[in-house]
């Protein structure tokens, strides 16, 4: 019994200590951001590996999610004779919810795990220590550009996901099921509010980008410098990111749409 309490206490203390380290890490990362104005090329490089290399995954996933939404939405709406509202259903589902959430989950799996593995391997091969001894601060040179790139990429990827998804919904709705294209686009345009829907979706994706990139970079930086340690850190990135995205999505949705 005492052993159980003791191990529970040890686990609790360890978790709090790690949480503290994570926040100090975030603070150091944020301190490194102003320096990037002088070296924006570093951010551009990372925008490519974090953002551009995730585009194909986002495009394909977005298209299929939109197509499925089109099919499922049509089957429900047709019972009420409201199939012309398919555009609204698809666009609101994507812009408010699925765009930011699914693209963030995909981003965590594709770019987040890659970031953790890269930083973890840099740590285990002493590249980060080597930089410190060359008087180059790895927080500024390595971590901050990746963090900013993640922050910029995530809302753009979510926007691409939503846009392609809406197009997928249109392909199925109009091309396959015969929904009137004018009704699809016009209803979508009327019912989708710029501030209420699009902007809230963008805010969600910025928050998810912030959290996923933070988790991914911290897990890599804090990884045990062995191949097993880096592997575990990569798994933790995907798992913790998924929890954070889904938990924060509920909180943000409650804040944004809870009083409607």
């Amino acid at each position: 019994m005492i052993d159980t309490i003791r191990s529970l206490g040890r686990w609790g203390l360890g978790s709090f200590e790690r949480l503290g380290r994570g926040h100090i890490f975030l603070l150091d990362t944020l301190k490194g951001l102003p320096w990037l104005f002088l070296r924006f090329s570093l951010v551009v490089q990372q925008l490519f590996s974090v953002g551009v290399l995730s585009v194909l995954l986002i495009l394909i996933s977005g298209l299929f999610v939109g197509m499925v939404l089109g099919l499922q939405g049509y089957n429900t709406l047709v019972d009420f004779g409201a199939e012309e509202s398919l555009g609204v259903l698809v666009s609101l589902s994507l812009v408010r919810e699925l765009g930011p959430v699914v693209s963030a989950l995909l981003f965590a799996g594709r770019a987040g795990s890659a970031l953790t593995a890269e930083i973890g391997l840099m740590k285990s091969t002493e590249q980060l220590s080597g930089m410190e001894m060359m008087a180059v601060d790895p927080m500024r040179r390595v971590i901050a550009p990746r963090f900013l790139a993640g922050l910029i990429s995530m809302p753009l990827l979510a926007a691409v996901f939503s846009a392609v998804g809406i197009f997928g919904g249109f392909l199925v709705g109009h091309g396959l099921l015969g929904v009137d294209d004018g009704a699809f686009w016009s209803q979508m345009q009327v019912k989708t509010d710029w501030y209420e829907d699009v902007l809230n979706g963008v805010i969600k994706s910025i928050v998810f980008g912030f959290v996923v990139t933070w988790i991914a970079l911290f897990e890599g930086y804090d990884a045990t410098p062995t191949s097993e340690g880096v592997g575990r850190a990569t798994t933790r990135t995907v798992v913790h990111s998924a929890f954070a995205i889904l938990g924060l999505d509920f909180v943000l949705t409650a804040l944004m749409f809870g009083d409607e």
């Binding site: 391997l121 091969t125 002493e126 590249q127 220590s129 080597g130 001894m133 060359m134 008087a135 180059v136």
Partner: protein
């Protein structure tokens, strides 16, 4: 006045003492070796000198500056004058050999690319790898990687250089090359070298002074000749690589007789 002055150094990992009252002087222009069995904290000592770790007690002064009392920016300024060669080489794996050596110059100077090119090729020439400048680190052997790392460590013309186990895992030719390079670089560039190693023959060949560390303390110091003549059994065991002596061959515990003849059935 020594370039590096370590006084009353105490450092703990958890409850385990790594250093307990260590005093070391590293003199300018000399090659000083820090030796001892695996796990005695030799690499930790280099990290303490470089300011990557903080001691629990005691001071480390480099060129008159207390390393652990410096601000973040002052510490980074000091590090520009300190080179370090890591055991793995610590080359940046996404950059070519050329870009690795050019890295400190591009980060800390505003020199034009043409001048950086000349400087990098000169440093690579000194380690015999000028013609390998287009290779990636994954295409280098262990010995070549360390030579590239050495070229990178001296790119900013530091006052001192720290070598972490430079000879470990090297074939005889690479080892000879590295021994020669460390000696030649130290003399040609008026460096101060700190070599952490447990390769007795190679280190004794180039070191002016050797500090032997064990169990958190300096066991002996002196020139290689003095240590080879030492009356200490521990020093003799280490310098001659004897399998048994003050450091026992058997892991401490029960004797063989106790284990064989006094065993209980349940065990």
């Amino acid at each position: 006045m020594p370039l590096i002055k370590i006084r009353d150094l105490h450092f703990y990992r958890g409850n385990k003492a790594i250093f307990e009252g260590v005093n070391i002087d590293i003199h300018r222009g000399k090659i000083t070796a820090i030796m001892g069995p695996s796990g005695t904290g030799k690499t930790t000592l280099l990290r303490l000198i470089g300011g990557q770790l903080r001691p629990d007690r005691g001071t480390i002064e480099v060129d008159g500056q207390n390393v652990h009392a410096l601000s973040h920016s002052d510490l980074y300024e000091l590090r520009k004058r300190m080179g370090m060669l890591f055991q793995s080489g610590a080359l940046l794996t996404d950059l070519t050999v050329f870009d690795n050596v050019a890295f400190p110059l591009r980060e800390h100077t505003k020199l034009p690319e043409t001048m950086i090119r000349d400087l990098v090729l000169m440093k690579l020439q000194a380690v015999g790898l000028r013609n390998a400048h287009t290779l990636m680190p994954s295409e280098l052997s262990g010995g070549m990687a360390r030579r590239v790392a050495l070229a990178r460590a001296v790119t900013l013309d530091p006052m001192m250089i720290m070598y972490d186990e430079p000879f470990t895992g090297q074939d005889p030719i690479s080892m000879g090359t590295l021994v020669n390079l460390i000696h030649r670089m130290n003399d040609a560039m008026s460096l101060t070298s700190v070599v952490v190693s447990h390769d007795v023959a190679e280190t004794a060949e180039i070191a002016d002074t050797i500090y032997l560390l064990s169990e958190g303390k300096v066991i002996e110091k002196g020139s290689p000749v003095q240590l080879k003549r030492s009356s200490s059994q521990w020093v003799q065991q280490f310098m001659q690589g004897l399998p048994d002596g003050p450091v026992p061959f058997h892991y401490p515990g029960k004797t063989l007789e106790e284990d064989l003849f006094n065993q209980k059935v349940s065990a």
